[in-house]
Amino acid sequence: MAKAFQRIYTRLEGITKATVVLDAKRVMNDELATVDGRLAQVVKISGDRVTLQVFGGTEGIATNSEVVFWGEAPSLNVSEELAGRFFNAYGKPIDGGPEVEGEHREIGGPSVNPYRRQQPSQIIPTGIAGIDLNNTLVSGQKIPFFADPDQPYNQVMATVALRADVDKIILGGMGLTNDDYLFFRQSFENAGKLSRIISFVNTTDDPPVERLLIPDMALTAAEYFAVDKNEKVLVLLTDMTLYADALSIVSNRMDQIPSKDSMPGSLYSDLAKIYEKAVQLPSGGSITIIAVTTLSGGDITHAIPDNTGYITEGQLFLRHDSDTGKVIVDPFRSLSRLKQLVIGKQTREDHNHVMNTAIRLYADAADAKTKLENGFDLSDYDLRALDFAKEYSLQLLSIDVNINITEMLERTWKLFAKYFTKEELSIREDLVEKYYGN
């Protein structure tokens, strides 16, 4: 890693758990350095006094450690060779393969001019009705799963990624357990799609501060394929809560005043910088981001999911449905803000109506259930709604469903006809004539 113009220092003035301080001249903001062989980045300069954030932590670092400045910000070599490879947070291979040759590009680069963006308009089908039918994904969208830690979000995300019709899938794993990392690796291998997949992984074995590099690494690779190669790229980021936790560790070490939930005051901007990389480009390339934000006890008012919700274009909630024993995509709390750009346009004309009606009837069933629990009598309608809800959950909402959107619509019409009269649906008349009971 040695470069021509290296400036080497051997005297540290201060050490904390995550940072070291030394006197050095002509240091660049954001510049990389190694401290006793560990990677670090300049985060503060005051006169000659430079503060370095040491990604791997500072355990065992001595005041006479060697500090080498690199003269450049964190970078990644980009080329077609990235495809099919696994890297760590620094962009170094962890799959035993050779270093990637290619253009040396700084990570965390500039944003797309909003005036040059295109409106997202391409549907990304996943086969999961809870997503395709009720919360349709669109290329160029950014959307997280809001999930409790015990829910199978990584499995669902892997399924979505493998079914999605995209050119490249880029996994940014932050604080993945080794088991989950191997799970992703195996799923990609078993699907025979390894050549389309690039992974940047920080596992729970690695130092937490390293995670901060993962999203920028993943998105720099994504921009290479989307902008330079006009490809459709899907980026998976899991788990963004652990990323935000790493941010708060660093800001704490730098004596910054915390705002809500001990998070740094810049959390919104920090998260937005990542999520806003999702884009539909005029050349046809696109970056779609599906992320995971784990919740604690389903609390979405915590600063991390709260700020995320304001940035992303909707959110997907997973829920364990006790009536059917399935994990379903919750139709009430999930939302895809961009779905109206594609439904009824790239899908069948009745999509919007079927979606809304089914959810309304599902809500009626929820009301009926409450009535039942409170000991009130159920009407005939209530009973039918309950039966409908059970089948709807089993045949459509469950995450193990894999059918195309037209089949989803037909299935729902069949359930409508089985349990409800035309009047109870109150769908536009011409659509009822065409699809009800056919």
Partner: protein, 587 residues
């Protein structure tokens, strides 16, 4: 001219620089940091001895201690002149449309106003006239809008017009008038002038209390909580409650001459929606494309944080400029919370003692100063112009007890609270009818205005309607506790009357061609009809009879909302309602 102050970078933390200066430096002065061949713009936000702290409007990656800095000698300014309308700017008024490439480049600044376009100038003032800042010297047609060329706002003395150029075609930099001050010195005036954004433009005679209403076509606003022309309002709400949809609806329909939309730290795709749709959509009032009256100031969430703060000031200054021409401007800022967060990030880096939630202590003052720039004004020539301001607020965790919401509530007169509960039940717009308010309903000027424009009893009818909604809500709570059979029938009737108002007046389908926008005349017609039904004492056998009747009624009323006003269809539904009522009363 004094020699230019220069400096050297001494410290860097994120986008905050410490610069050692060699000469005089002003608070809020603009400076440029030399990074190779590019110049990065920054603003001085604190001075201590020889050291100035500056926030950089760009990423500071690659800067070093010792880098050269030059000071501009002025505060952050915008250029004001013909060509602002329909433009798309970033927070610092760089034209986004003329930038090269897909990515924003560091240090790339583009001209906000086209220097080549020639405008057909018509003189309004003549030689010998006494004029001062903001007085009209001439006019050009900026598309459909009469754009007045004024005495620059910085020229606050009294001047004598020496010459106004004759009618003809000129570019913005050509001299169109010459003014002489009382010392006999001549001042050439062009069509373009500069103004520091953080200062309010006060080139007007007086700022009276608002005395008329600005129609938005949104019923829950116009009928229940109207906003005055020149008034201030804000929309707080958790994510997913339809803040943006409501703001876009107002942008599309509001009775204003020009709309400035400040996308402040929000999603880029929402701005793309405006870029894509506004050039196609037609303004129902004028028949022109919406983009012809819209200017967009866009600093999306991934653009540099410091410029986010500047963006709302830039937008406000452009509004004030058009107000001085006698136009009605509407400023929509989405969202002011992101602006406050930008202030917080800076204050934090400067290690200031924090206030609540780590926001700077002076946040309430900054917010109220900013909202105070809105208003209807009487210009020197007796004409009026206005800036109406509606901001959105994104309260953390949807909790309204946080500093930005609380400070904004003190500074504004209209409060449109978006409720999670209404949004969950798909009752859009999710403006809560009970929590929301408009202080203008208590203004004697507005009461007089409604009495003349709509009718003497209109204001009373509004309060009456609000009361039905309140009673309905109370009844609903009782029904929920005691069960359908556990309350007197009257409770059910109260509840259903409030549902009638909710479904027919307060809820509105923003995506339906007809229902999306309701002119005042139609609002009055429908609201009066609904209130008249609420006033009747209809007898019911039991609560099921009551709910069945109102459900039927609501269904027909809804069809009416979806039909063209006073069309065949509309009248047919109206007759159907009459029949339903007669049937019930006779039975």
């Amino acid at each position: 001219m004094q020699t230019q102050t220069t400096g050297k970078v001494r410290g860097i933390i994120a986008n905050l620089l410490t610069i050692e200066v060699d000469g005089p430096v002003a608070q809020n002065e603009i400076c440029f940091i030399h990074l190779g061949d590019t110049r990065l713009m920054a603003e001085v936000i604190k001075v201590t001895g020889k050291n100035a702290s500056a926030q950089v409007y760009e990423s500071t990656r690659g800067l070093r201690v010792g880098d050269h800095v030059t000071f501009a000698g002025h505060m952050l300014e915008v250029q004001l002149g013909p060509g602002l309308l329909s433009s798309n700017y970033d927070g610092l008024q760089n034209n986004l449309a003329t930038m090269d490439g897909v990515f924003l480049k560091k240090g790339e600044y583009t001209e906000p106003i086209d220097r080549e376009t020639a405008w057909d100038f018509k003189p309004l003032a003549k030689a010998g006239d006494k004029v001062t800042a903001g007085d009209w010297l001439g006019e050009v047609m900026e598309g459909w809008l009469t754009h007045r060329i004024m005495v620059p706002f910085t020229m606050t003395e009294t001047y004598t017009v020496e010459k106004v150029t004759q009618e003809g075609s000129y570019t913005v930099d050509q001299t169109v008038a010459v003014l002489k001050d009382d010392k006999g010195q001549s001042h050439p005036v062009t069509m373009v002038q500069k103004w520091p954004v953080k200062r309010a433009i006060t080139a007007y005679k007086e700022k009276p209390r608002p005395f008329k209403v600005m129609e938005t076509g949104v019923r829950t606003i116009d009928t229940f909580n109207p906003i005055a022309e020149g008034g201030t309002g804000f929309i707080p709400g958790p994510f997913g409650c339809g803040k943006t949809v409501l703001q876009h609806a107002i942008a599309k329909q509001a009775e204003a001459d020009i709309i400035v939309m400040a996308a402040c730290g929000e999603r880029a795709n929402e701005v793309v929606e405006i870029f894509t749709e506004f050039p196609k959509l037609i303004d129902a009032r004028t028949g022109r494309h919406l983009m012809e009256r819209t200017t967009i100031i866009c600093n999306t969430s991934n653009m540099p944080v410091a410029a986010r703060e500047a963006s709302v000031y830039t937008a406000m200054t452009i509004c004030e400029y058009y107000r001085a021409m006698g136009h009605r401007a509407l400023l929509l800022a989405d969202s002011t919370s992101r602006w406050a967060q930008a202030l917080r990030e800076m204050s934090n880096r400067m290690e200031e003692l924090p206030g609540q939630d780590a926001f700077p202590m002076d946040l309430p003052a900054i917010i109220s100063n900013f909202y105070a720039r809105a208003g209807i004004v009487t210009l020197n020539n007796g004409q009026t112009g206005s800036v109406t301001f509606i901001g959105t607020v994104s309260p953390a965790g949807g909790n309204l007890k946080e500093p930005v919401t609380e400070s904004t509530q003190k500074a504004t007169r209209c409060f449109y609270a978006l409720s999670q509960n209404r949004a969950d039940r798909k009752r859009y717009p999710a403006v809560d009818p009970m929590d929301s308010y408009s202080k203008y309903l208590e203004y004697p000027e507005i009461i007089t205005y409604f009495a003349e424009k709509v009718g003497p009893e209109w204001i009373d009818t509004i309060w009456e309607g609000k009361n039905y909604v309140r009673r309905g809500k109370e009844a609903y709570e009782q029904i929920n506790i005691l069960g359908d059979d556990g309350v007197p029938l009257d409770y059910h009737i109260s509840y259903w009357k409030s549902e009638l108002i909710d479904f027919i007046i307060l809820q509105q389908d923003a995506f339906d061609a007809i229902d999306a926008s309701t002119p005042m005349e139609r609002q009055e017609y429908m609201y009066t009809k609904v209130i008249n039904i609420c006033r009747q004492n209809i007898e019911f056998e039991d609560f099921e009879d009551c709910s069945a009747f109102f459900k039927k009624l609501i269904n027909v009323f809804r069809q009416m909302n979806y039909s063209k006003f006073q069309s065949e269809e509309f009248k047919r539904y109206e007759t159907e309602i009459e029949e339903l009522l007669t049937e019930k009363v006779q039975a």
